[in-house]
């Protein structure tokens, strides 16, 4: 096995008790020192997957290797290197300093305790002189999340797992949380795994993005997920958008026609005059945002079309050539064959 692979998952399944499967992933590997984003709608299994990766939740089937080794029975030791930040963090009923020092004291890393606690506080934009001695109940929601992240950063973890870390905090706290997570990755080579709905940020910093839907991995990168209703019409399946435009897809036997994905690389941005072969999906829309994708060196362009947003991946040079910018009216084109059922 490649020594740089930190996680390797094969046929991993998970369910709570006798309930339905919450995760069913055929294969996934995460490299050491990478920033991996996990995206997907609510209830797609992101949090469960993160907890499994943080060794906080046992999986029910398949295999998971950590650093090339089977972690069974060693979860407690591994958790000393893998830390997890909850979406809505909890602080111990003690001062900010003691909250951050807790993990270090557990590891007997107390030689430079004060220095590490203060450094962690500064990383999340909190002044040690002002915040270190504050009790847990005198912090705002954003400050709680930042202190919780500081407590994890103080450990200089090998893996930092973040579960929608900015979902419940104000904008400035969100920015500081994101910067602090990136600083850990840059300075210590920490492997960062983050579930978030903040796609522009993820696109910018991540080396890989995993799309989850109903517990299954539907692809790498920011896949376009198109929910139904998909209706059969003259031998094909059609999703009618609120503005009347239609997306055509091919019927596949045994496939449930609930939701489909389209890879952004399969969606082209074309000029109005450009001709397309008959049967190709051609949709008019407005560019809402553009983000540079660090992993591919391309740009990801989000286009609002009807009630959905579709993302198209295109080389930066091409963007310069066609001169599009947010609010530009564009036409998207992709083949019905590129619509995959999940």
């Amino acid at each position: 096995m490649d020594p740089r692979i930190i996680y390797e998952i094969k046929n991993l399944t998970h369910s709570y008790g006798k309930g339905p499967q919450t995760i069913n992933i055929d294969y996934l590997r995460i490299c050491e020192g990478s920033v991996t984003g996990i995206v997907g709608p609510n209830g797609s299994g992101k949090s469960t997957l993160l907890r499994v990766l943080a060794f906080l939740e046992p999986y029910t089937g398949g295999s998971l290797f950590f650093g090339g080794l089977d972690p069974s029975g060693k979860e407690v030791d591994i958790r000393k290197n893998v830390t997890y930040l909850l979406q809505n963090s909890y602080l111990l009923k003690r001062s900010v300093f003691e909250n951050i020092a807790y993990g270090l004291r557990l590891r007997n890393e107390t030689a430079d305790l004060e220095e590490r606690v203060h450094d962690s506080l500064e990383r999340v934009g909190l002044s040690p002189s002002k915040f270190a001695q504050r009790p847990w109940y005198r912090l705002s929601g954003g400050e709680v999340q930042r202190v919780a992240l500081a407590a994890r950063l103080a450990l200089h973890p090998k893996v930092l797992i973040l579960d929608e870390p900015t979902a419940n905090v104000d904008e400035s706290s969100a920015l500081l949380v994101k910067e602090a997570a990136v600083s850990a990755w840059k300075e210590w080579g920490t492997t960062v795994i983050v579930a978030t709905h903040d796609l522009p940020w993820l696109t910018e910093v991540s080396t890989d993005i995993i799309s989850l839907f109903r517990g299954k991995m539907v692809g790498h990168g920011t896949e376009n997920l198109i929910h139904g209703p998909w209706i059969e019409e003259n031998g094909s399946v059609v999703r009618t958008l609120t503005d009347g435009q239609k997306i055509h897809a091919l019927i596949k036997e045994e496939a449930e026609l609930h939701a489909a994905v389209v890879n952004p690389s399969d969606i082209e941005l074309i000029t109005d005059s450009e001709a397309t072969s008959s049967g190709t999906n051609r949709l008019r829309g407005t560019v809402t945002s553009m983000a540079l994708e660090r992993a591919t060196g391309s740009a990801l362009i989000s286009v609002q079309t009807g009630d959905i947003i579709l993302k198209s991946r295109m080389p930066v040079e091409k963007i310069k050539e066609v001169r599009i910018s947010p609010a530009s009216e564009v036409t998207l084109s992709f083949s019905p064959e590129d619509v995959r059922w999940i």
Binding site: V76, R79, L85, L86, S89, G103
Partner: protein, 232 residues
């Protein structure tokens, strides 16, 4: 009415001068309740933690039993323990009847369910993110348990104070198991009972004021702790 007023003024002078008998009664009470609460906490905290923290078959039954024992009548406890520690009882050889240790057994039975039940409630009421947080910071086993107990410390202190309030104020089992022997097993509550019966209101009222002061101090501490809990 005069005898009450007279008794009240005499009681003040008894408290101020703190005569030997009054002092002995107060010290006997503190010694007894101190011994009892030590055992109650030593046994009750781990048992309450286990009951609140772990899931095991029969947990609900145990919980119901602990909750039922909260309102155990003191004289029933006195009767049962008396039967066990009297000369003819199975523990008769230990000669515990009419001793502080014998009285402590009764008080432990009375106070233990309070600490067990309240600690279990405190642990069950802990935020469900606490365990995840501690695990992800690297805690496990005993450290996880101790930190969880510490997180519930305000509620657990409330349990300890409530339990202490119950044992210091009870008279039934203390009277039956201690025998109210002067200079030996006479406590504040048994002394009040006796002195009232004899018509010596001064000592009764003096001891009543001391007992009320202790209760008042306990309640002040309780309300302070409740405010702290409210901040959590």
């Amino acid at each position: 009415m005069d005898f009450i007023i007279q008794g009240f003024f005499q009681s003040i002078s008894l408290i101020v001068s703190m005569d030997e008998e009054t002092l002995n009664i107060v010290l006997t009470t503190l010694r007894l309740t101190g011994l009892s609460i030590l055992f109650i906490l030593g046994l009750g905290l781990p048992l309450g933690f286990a009951l609140g923290y772990f899931n095991f078959p029969g947990k609900h039954l145990l919980r119901t039993i602990a909750d039922t024992l909260l309102s155990l009548p003191t004289v029933v406890v006195g009767l049962l323990v008396y039967a066990f520690i009297s000369r003819r009882g199975p523990l008769g050889d230990f000669q515990l009847l009419f001793t502080i240790r014998g009285m402590a057994i009764g008080q432990i039975i009375l106070g233990l369910p309070i600490v067990i039940s309240y600690t279990a409630t405190a642990i069950e009421g802990l935020d469900n993110r606490l365990k995840l947080t501690l695990q992800t910071l690297g805690a496990s086993g005993a450290k996880l348990a101790v930190t969880s107990l510490w997180e519930g410390r305000f509620q657990i202190l409330v349990a300890a104070l409530t339990s202490y309030g119950r044992i210091i104020g009870e008279v039934g089992s203390a009277m039956m198991l201690g025998g109210n022997i002067k200079w030996h097993t006479r406590t504040i509550t048994t002394a009040i009972t006796l002195e009232t019966g004899k018509g010596d209101f001064a000592l009764g009222i003096a001891l009543g004021i001391i007992l009320l002061s202790i209760s008042f101090a306990l309640n002040i501490s309780l309300s302070f702790l409740r405010r702290r809990v409210g901040n959590s």
